[in-house]
């Protein structure tokens, strides 16, 4: 037999070995003890947390010759067979290779026959998320009511790809990522059993590298052993994991905080020369800054950071120099860099750019201080500037807003109250755009507070709208707020040909527009260049288009 990698050699063989998944093993053990074993299980979770192992252990527990128990003996023929993965009654199917509906049909054929010699016939389908939709559907009936002797165990990393009809027929167990300390503890057990000399620090480094996956950690441990034999030095682990020397990291952090881009670039150059992975460097750098952010916001960061003694103290001193805003910005930028590095075809440049950018960040202003600054400015401005529009303004409007003098029919009375009316319409339009546009079409017949009379052409849609009680009330409330005194609203119909009524805002605007067009046309026609063009080509003027509207 060739060399077995640690992850295979140390595959958990009973529930107690299955670390970090107590919630699963306890539930299963209780179910077995009380004889309430479901017929279909779904194990989900990240890679290398024990799904397949748990499935095999459960199979053993169910089929152990020493009797149904949560502690499979591991010595009977059935247990041995399952460990060696050639059990007759435990059928392990690679869901990713047997994805079709035909594979499921074959399985359904098989399931009818009684187990050869064990209690149950157990189907373990690993990577079940790769089954086709048809395959899943073909499985539904069997899965709902399988024969008494059949048990299903599904394992997958991607539960979201499984149809809900399957999910609802299974008992689902979510496997958690294993905490670093637990992984390190298990690594220590294995290292001792394998007669390895390795420090706890190295083991926890390896465990952290695994990111919650036991198999990843064991693969790394394998790699470490392959590199340095049975005596593992801390340095060797660091080099192998591509860990960046802490001094170099600290140097870079300091350079960034002191905005010394030259030193930061020096660090990159050194990393590059050492042949270290830039991605790992960015990761480490990010972790440093994360640590500093945590130091800033958490009173006792030791636990959250997994750091002790000098390292923690160093981080704290560094954190004191920088502001929280700055640190957060650095972290954000580094996170972006990290994702860019993955796809970058010139990673060195990506990292260099990022560091130059970090070192050139202008120091951030304290946000709270900025806000208070603005507030005080506002206050000072408020003292000199006139109070915001609030009082009823009967004063004449500013010159450019008066209707053009070409409008002799506009009564003088409205002109003085115009600001009031126009202001009111604008005010209403801000809070109730629909109502505002209705008002724009209305003619302010009378604006003598407390009475406001608005006229609309007889039989128009707007009259009926404004006569609704709710709208009238709303409008009165708005007008009251605007004029600062109670307002009584009257809506009356007018004859559309009646010229005495003041024009509505829309009409004023239209009049202004046609007036402008007329003047433009006059200007254009009077232009000497145009005249000579007309003469030369014997042309006529069809249309005059102002170039500020809609053109160019």
């Amino acid at each position: 037999m060739a060399y077995l990698v640690l992850a295979r050699k140390w595959r958990p063989q009973n529930f107690t070995d299955l670390i970090g998944q107590e919630h699963v093993s306890q539930t299963l053990a209780n179910a077995i003890r009380s004889g309430r074993v479901h017929h279909a299980f779904l194990f989900t979770g990240a890679r290398g947390v024990g799904k397949t192992s748990a499935a095999r252990i459960l199979a053993k527990a169910l089929n152990c010759e020493a009797g149904l128990s949560d502690q499979p003996c591991g010595t009977c023929a059935s247990c041995m067979e399952i460990t060696a993965s050639h059990g007759l009654d435990v059928i392990e199917i690679d869901g990713a290779s047997n994805t079709g509906v035909d594979d499921v049909r074959e399985l359904r054929e098989n399931i009818r026959y009684l187990p050869n010699r064990s209690r149950f016939k157990i189907f373990i389908i690993d990577e079940v998320h790769m089954l086709s939709t048809n395959a899943f559907n073909a499985l539904l009936k069997t899965l709902e009511e399988p024969p008494e002797h059949a048990k299903f165990i599904f394992a997958t990393t991607e539960p979201h790809k499984i149809p809900i009809t399957i999910l609802s027929r299974c008992q689902r167990f979510d496997f958690r990522k294993i905490p670093t300390s637990r992984v390190a503890g298990r690594l220590r057990e294995i290292a001792d059993a394998e007669k390895l000399t390795i420090s706890d620090r190295s083991l926890s480094l390896i465990a952290r590298q695994g990111e919650g996956s036991m198999r990843d950690a064991l693969s790394t441990l394998d790699q470490v052993i392959a590199f340095s034999g049975d005596e593992v030095e801390d340095d060797a682990v660091q080099t192998l994991l591509g860990m960046v020397d802490r001094r170099l990291l600290l140097d870079t952090v300091e350079a960034v905080l002191q905005r010394d881009s030259r030193r930061a670039l020096d660090a990159v150059r050194r990393i590059d020369q050492l042949g270290l992975a830039l991605k790992q460097f960015t990761q480490d750098l990010l972790e440093m800054f994360r640590g500093m952010v945590i130091c800033k916001v958490v009173e006792d960061p030791a636990e959250m950071l997994d750091l002790v003694g000098d390292e923690l103290k160093g981080l704290k001193t560094l954190a004191e120099e920088a502001s929280l805003e700055d640190l957060q910005r650095v972290v954000t930028l580094l996170l972006k860099t990290q994702s860019e590095l993955v796809n970058s075809n010139y990673p060195l440049l990506t990292l260099e750019m990022s560091l130059v950018r970090l070192a050139n960040l202008s120091p951030s202003q304290n946000l709270a201080r900025l806000i208070s600054h603005i507030e005080s400015l506002e206050k000072r401005l408020g003292e000199t500037a006139p109070p915001p529009r609030k009082m009823p303004s009967a004063q004449p409007r500013p010159a450019q807003e008066t209707p053009p003098p070409k409008k002799p029919e506009a009564p003088v009375a409205v002109k003085t109250a115009n600001k009031g009316w126009q202001g009111l319409v604008e005010q209403v339009r801000q809070s109730r755009p629909m109502l505002g546009s209705v008002l724009e079409h209305g003619r302010p017949l009378k604006l003598e507070l407390p009475t406001l009379e608005i006229g609309y052409p007889n039989g128009s849609f707007m009259i009926s709208q404004l006569q609704e009680q709710q709208i009238t009330q709303d409008l009165e409330a708005l007008a009251t707020a605007y004029f600062g005194q109670p307002v009584k609203l009257l809506v009356s119909g007018i004859d559309s040909s009646q010229q005495s009524a003041p024009p509505s805002l829309v009409e004023t605007r239209q009049a202004k527009e046609t007036d402008r067009m007329r003047r433009l046309r006059e200007d254009a026609v009077g232009h000497p260049a145009l005249k000579s063009v007309q003469e030369i080509f014997n042309g006529t003027i069809k249309k005059v288009i102002p170039i500020d509207k809609g053109f160019v």
């Binding site: 060739a2 060399y3 077995l4 990698v5 295979r8 990240a46 890679r47 290398g48 397949t52 993965s85 690679d94 990713a96 290779s97 994805t99 690993d126 990577e127 998320h129 790769m130 990393t157 996956s213 198999r215 990843d216 693969s219 790394t220 394998d222 790699q223 052993i225 392959a226 590199f227 034999g229 080099t239 591509g242 881009s261 030259r262 670039l265 150059r269 020369q273 042949g275 270290l276 992975a277 860019e340 993955v342 796809n343 970058s344 075809n345 010139y346 440049l349 990506t350 260099e352 750019m353 130059v356 950018r357 050139n360």
Partner: protein
Amino acid sequence: MTFDQILGHEHQKEILRRGLVNGRIAHAYLFSGPDGIGKRLMAMALARAIVCLEQRGCGHCQACRKIDHQNHPDLHILEPDGSSIKIEQVRAFQRDLNLKPLEASRKICMIEQAETMTAGAANALLKTLEEPRGDTLLILLTAQPNRLLETIRSRCQPLPFTRHPNSRIQAELEKQLGIDATESHVLAALSEGSFKKAFGKDRELYLEQRRDLLKTLTGLSSGSILPILDFAEQLAADKTILIDILEIFQAFFRDVLMTLEGRGDEELVNLDLKHKVHRVAAHENVASILDKLDALMTVRRQLDRNVNRQLAMEVLLLKLAA
């Protein structure tokens, strides 16, 4: 090719050698690292060391020679069929793996460009990769390990390869091609630590065309739009070398950035165009150069997604000329 004949990668060689000596060769390796730095050579050397009749990868015995000619019955190589490795390929390959090795002590399978496996193919491989039957050795080669499934990565023993230092490539270029120090410096720097690139067909592009391209690029000004459009058309015309040209631009602006940051000339890529770099640096600032580099990165990402090349080039050049 034995381990000794492979340049560099001492670390990785050592790991594999020790594994061979202690009988601790894992069943699945993931060789990751940039293209053209010798991953495949290393995998071949490992294969030879395993099948060699003299147990050391001698290179003379029948088994070694068979490996060299890739007709050893126990060496399986899985390569992308077209643009990806498909599930049928993986299934056929799994059938082969179920058989006992014919001549050697174990079957050796190499999966090249493993990142091109389709989702189905990758998933179909998972169970095999976790617990292959018998004495199988799987070697996955990839330049982009991050594009592999996490579940695949976790099942392999990782063996990351780093790029060659420029000095090593430069020395090798000078030795084998007999070019002068400046040219070899430029080539080595542009090759990104890859021997394949440095010795590849792009030499003429990197050395001769580069000067013309950069001359045109620095000659552009935001005021005159026609030359920009012309140049964009010229760039977009040839899809195959466009990426390399963009790399040249990136290297150039990186040089400018380094000059602005006050780095020494020895860090420059375009050593022969030192004066041009300094001239450009004189009327740029760090922020504007960073913007331009960003634009270049963006355009490279866009090109991966099949954008309109000419349009992309026009936008890029407008930004670069600004």
